[in-house]
């Protein structure tokens, strides 16, 4: 049973969320699980799932790349990676050997908004697994030689990234879109940032941000709540809270007109990325945006972009639109790879579809299909222990509430064609976008959007 404190807290949260058009608690699907706050401030979430003898544990820390200081890009991710590379009790090799002996998986890394430490372990070994996880999170020693080793590996990975054109295109895209903001860089950082990081900065990053009152723990699997609670108290109950420093972020640079950037690579396809800023996760238009995005390019074969660019014209194997809402406005982008010579046609089709979405309401069928997909596919987001643990932590982090499954269906159901038209007009910008193309510059077609790049190339050629 939940403590009365937790019950009170849950009811308070219900009051906070009352502005959402939600069904009564009894009507919708069951909540994702249960929630409790430990005296040290750690929020922990629980859901019993008995279908496989596994337990999945996720520890989310509000210590993502958003916390990277300018010039130290990669600090959050590096700190997370080093958790398992030496603790007060174990060397990196001892920890690897103990995890592997259990057949467990223990991984850590940082995304833009948060860092995540994940454990999957057989139920019979859950105590040992949690002890290893807690040791990594609470007692890392950040040995200098391990830091150098990880930095060296990360630096080398930037070299091999150069062979993945879409990765390179995305990097250029983010840099232009976000300027000095941390979203400008991949969570793994930049070569310059990684080289500049001092061990003491890693230690400080961990000391300030790896605190129970800055973390969310979710436990899902073949275990009772009582057993789980006992283990959580044993391994995380003594974790001491701290004062969490304020997060301050630079403003986002403006994008006032179409801009094109070409990255020259001797490959056969043009890797195209078109887009601009999107929205935050907390934006109330998230749901209408999601419906709109499904119809435009998020819905696979049911989407307009896939239909036009792949099914009708055979221009690409895959095309889609994506938005990545975070604490800050994440990007909205359309991406595809097509034979170099077809790049211009593909870009023209992207613009046409974006403009159409802003000009006329989506059809009733499109709207109904999108909504029924989004609602009907929700249970698949919970069909494995690891997926459920990750979703619970996500829902808590963005303040969505454990009754999210029920409210989600309700909100999506309420989205209208007029809402979709409004968000398309408000958030899609065919008049001020960023276009990045990685491909063979000499063979890219001469088209209006690429004229500047072509002229630049010819200038280069003349100079060489």
């Amino acid at each position: 049973m939940w403590t009365s404190a937790a019950r009170i807290l849950l009811s308070l949260l219900a009051v906070v969320w009352i502005h959402f058009p939600g069904p009564s608690a009894a009507a919708g699907p069951p909540p994702l699980g249960e929630r409790e706050v430990l005296p040290n401030g750690l929020v922990w979430l629980f859901s019993e799932q008995r279908s496989v003898p596994l337990v999945a544990v996720n520890l989310l820390l509000k210590a993502g790349a958003l916390r990277d200081p300018r010039g130290r890009e990669g600090l959050a991710h590096l700190t997370a990676l080093l958790l398992t590379q030496g603790t007060k009790k174990r060397t990196a090799t001892q920890m690897a050997e103990e995890i592997d002996f259990l057949g467990a998986k223990l991984s850590a890394g940082a995304e833009e908004d948060y860092a995540m430490v994940s454990l999957t372990v057989l139920k019979k070994d859950v105590g040992q697994g949690l002890e290893l996880m807690a040791d990594a999170v609470l007692n890392p020693t950040f040995p200098p030689q391990e830091l150098r080793r990880k930095v060296q590996q990360l630096l080398a990975s930037f070299d091999s990234d150069e062979d993945e054109p879409m990765v390179i295109a995305r990097r250029a895209f983010d840099q232009r879109l976000y300027g000095q903001h941390p979203y400008a860089f991949p969570p793994k950082g930049t070569p310059q940032g990684l080289k500049a990081i001092q061990r003491q900065q890693v230690v400080e990053f961990h000391r300030h941000l790896y605190r129970p009152n800055n973390a969310i723990l979710s436990v899902v699997g073949d275990i009772s709540r009582e057993e789980a609670r006992e283990l959580i108290l044993k391994y995380f109950g003594g974790w001491s809270p701290g004062r969490i420093p304020e997060l301050t972020l630079p403003p986002l640079p403006p994008l006032s007109r179409p801009e094109t950037q070409v990255i020259d690579k001797k490959i056969t396809q043009a890797n195209i990325l078109w887009g601009h800023l999107g929205i935050t996760r907390q934006n109330p238009d998230f749901y209408a945006f999601q419906v709109m995005n499904y119809i435009l390019g998020g819905g696979g074969f049911a989407s307009r972009l896939m239909d036009t660019i792949r099914e009708t014209r055979g221009l690409a194997y895959s095309v889609g639109s994506t938005f990545e809402p975070g604490l800050e406005p994440g990007p909205f982008y359309i991406s595809l790879e097509t034979k170099t010579e077809n790049a211009g046609e593909a870009v023209a089709l992207i613009l046409k579809e974006v403009e159409r979405l802003r000009a006329e309401p989506v059809s009733d069928t499109e709207l109904a299909d999108a909504k029924s997909y989004l609602i009907g596919s929700f249970p698949r987001r919970l069909d494995a222990t690891g997926k459920r643990a990750a979703l619970m932590a996500y829902v808590e982090f963005y303040g969505l509430g454990l009754d999210y499954p029920g409210r989600y269906a309700e909100i999506i159901q309420g989205v209208t064609a007029a809402d979709v038209l409004r968000v398309a007009q408000q958030y899609l910008h065919p008049e001020r976008y960023l276009l990045v193309v990685a491909g063979d510059r000499n063979r890219l077609p001469r088209l209006p959007g690429l004229v500047a790049a072509q002229e630049e190339k010819e200038k280069d050629d003349a100079e060489n």
Partner: protein
């Protein structure tokens, strides 16, 4: 979307298995009892409840009730893949997979995936060397409709010249994306081509570029008519189903299809290799890459279990030998690993690979990989390490079973390349593997005379030049 699937890592195994109760379901069991097919216990055999049937038309049926959520995965597996193709016509299996989404009389073009997605489901298909599979996963209430759609396109596909030409373009883009513009994929393709000279595993699943370009609608039609027959297919359903009702639906829907002519089976066998083969790929790339493959047996030979454990000892987890030596201690490699699939139709390859860190060379990686092979050949793997790899296999097995889709996939793949009951024999046999077995098997197969080595040699290492930001112009 239709895509190629590199055959996933083969299934795991485990110590726990020995503790389990085997609840019947021997191969060839003609009928089933619903009681025996109840939900598997939490610590149980995930396949205890499998119900198997063969329809009168020859179609194999495997059903498994797993009611943890109101979801189901519905999969149709055809015994056809690139292994069934011929020189000059490679890529036909995969192109056929794409064309299966072009519609029938009853469900027009673009209707199929839309109907699945509308209900919140997802659908896709994948092609391997040995099989082609189609699936839908989503609300259990959609199962009957999905059966009707799959049964309909098994025999009733309608592909126009125009649809064929469009899809051919899509697949050429897919090939550019996957191989032409990816130096490591290109290298792996060259290594397979060198390692096999007689067997069709020599060509890539997606096919050679010029082959894809020259395939015709008539090629496709003949291929489709030959292999898309109920007697060449296995149906797998896993999820929240009522077994009796589902079996009734299966008989009504799939049972109504007539048996087709028996499709031909490939007969090629790869002869023994005498001496190391080497290939070199010189392309624009940032870092070199080394791939090393050896001919080894598949599930049909008892040595497969030792090979499975060798691959795990070499590369599963950060305590594995390749990680500890090449990546951690010697700081030689950015990436290193080993791979082996025992569930293939014909004998497969045991692969080791590595990518050097900047400043290190392909030759150093190759020497280090060979050094680890020699260690396996000369020193017996200790008891603790042997126990560790068996534990890892156990856990990996249950982790995979966490997904309905993967449970179905394992049944379908095994039934298509071997027999599904292999899933249940696998673990005890793996448990019987000893340190001495590992040493013997490493000494027997992982030898230079049986090896093909591929090296990616970067033609230049300077980074691509990126232009400064500048405003462009609107396009129309």
């Amino acid at each position: 979307m239709p895509k190629l699937l590199r055959p996933a890592r083969s299934f795991g195994c485990g110590l726990l298995w020995l503790l389990l109760v085997f609840a019947g379901a021997a191969a060839g069991r003609p009928a089933f009892s619903v009681a025996a097919a109840a939900q598997p216990s939490a610590l149980g055999d995930p396949f205890a409840g499998v119900v198997e049937q063969t329809l009168d038309n020859g179609m194999r049926v495997l059903l498994l009730r797993e009611p943890r959520a109101p979801l189901v995965t519905h999969q149709v597996w055809y015994r056809v893949g690139s292994r069934f193709e011929t020189v000059g016509r490679t890529g036909l299996s995969h192109l056929t997979e794409h064309l299966m989404f072009k519609g029938t009389e009853k469900y027009g073009p673009k209707v199929f995936s839309r109907l699945v997605q509308k209900a919140g489901g997802n659908d896709n298909a994948f092609t391997s060397r040995d099989y082609t599979a189609y699936f839908q996963t989503g609300p259990a209430s959609e199962l009957r409709r999905w059966m009707e759609m799959e049964a309909d396109r098994m025999r009733g596909l309608k592909v126009t010249e125009e649809a064929f030409a469009t899809e051919q373009k899509v697949v050429l883009e897919e090939r550019r994306l996957r191989t032409e513009d990816d130096p490591v994929s290109f290298l792996v393709e060259e290594v397979y081509a060198a390692a096999y000279k007689a067997h069709p595993y020599q060509w890539p699943i997606i096919g050679w570029y010029e082959d894809i370009r020259s395939l015709t609608l008539a090629d496709f039609q003949a291929y489709y008519q030959t292999y898309y027959q109920p007697n060449n297919a296995t149906l797998v359903v896993v999820g929240d189903i009522d077994l009796e009702a589902t079996l009734k639906d299966v008989r009504e829907v799939y049972g109504a299809l007539p048996r087709g002519p028996e499709p031909p089976r490939p007969t090629a066998r790869e002869p023994r290799q005498f001496g190391e083969r080497r290939v070199r790929v010189e392309r624009e790339a940032q870092l070199p890459y080394v791939v090393m493959v050896h001919h080894v047996p598949n599930w049909q030979h008892p040595d497969c279990f030792a090979l499975e454990l060798l691959a795990r000892a070499l590369s599963q987890g950060k305590s594995s030998r390749l990680y500890q030596k090449l990546i951690y201690t010697d700081r030689l490699a950015l990436e290193a690993g080993a791979d082996y699939d025992l569930d293939t139709a014909d004998p497969s390859l045991f692969m080791l690979y590595g990518q050097p860190l900047p400043g290190k060379t392909a030759a150093q990686i190759e020497a280090a990989l060979v050094g680890e092979i020699k260690r396996l050949q000369t020193e017996e793997v200790g008891e603790r390490e042997l126990a560790k790899v068996k534990n890892q296999a156990t856990a990996a097995y249950y982790q995979a079973m966490d997904s309905l889709f993967f449970r179905g996939m394992l049944l379908g793949r095994l039934e298509t390349v071997a027999r599904w009951t292999l899933a249940r024999e696998f673990v005890p046999k793996l448990q019987a593997v000893t340190g001495a077995d590992l040493k013997r098997v490493a000494g027997h197969y992982l030898v230079p005379a049986n090896r093909t080595v591929g090296v990616l040699v970067p033609l230049k290492t300077d980074k691509p030049r990126r232009e400064g930001f500048r405003p462009g112009h609107e396009i129309q």
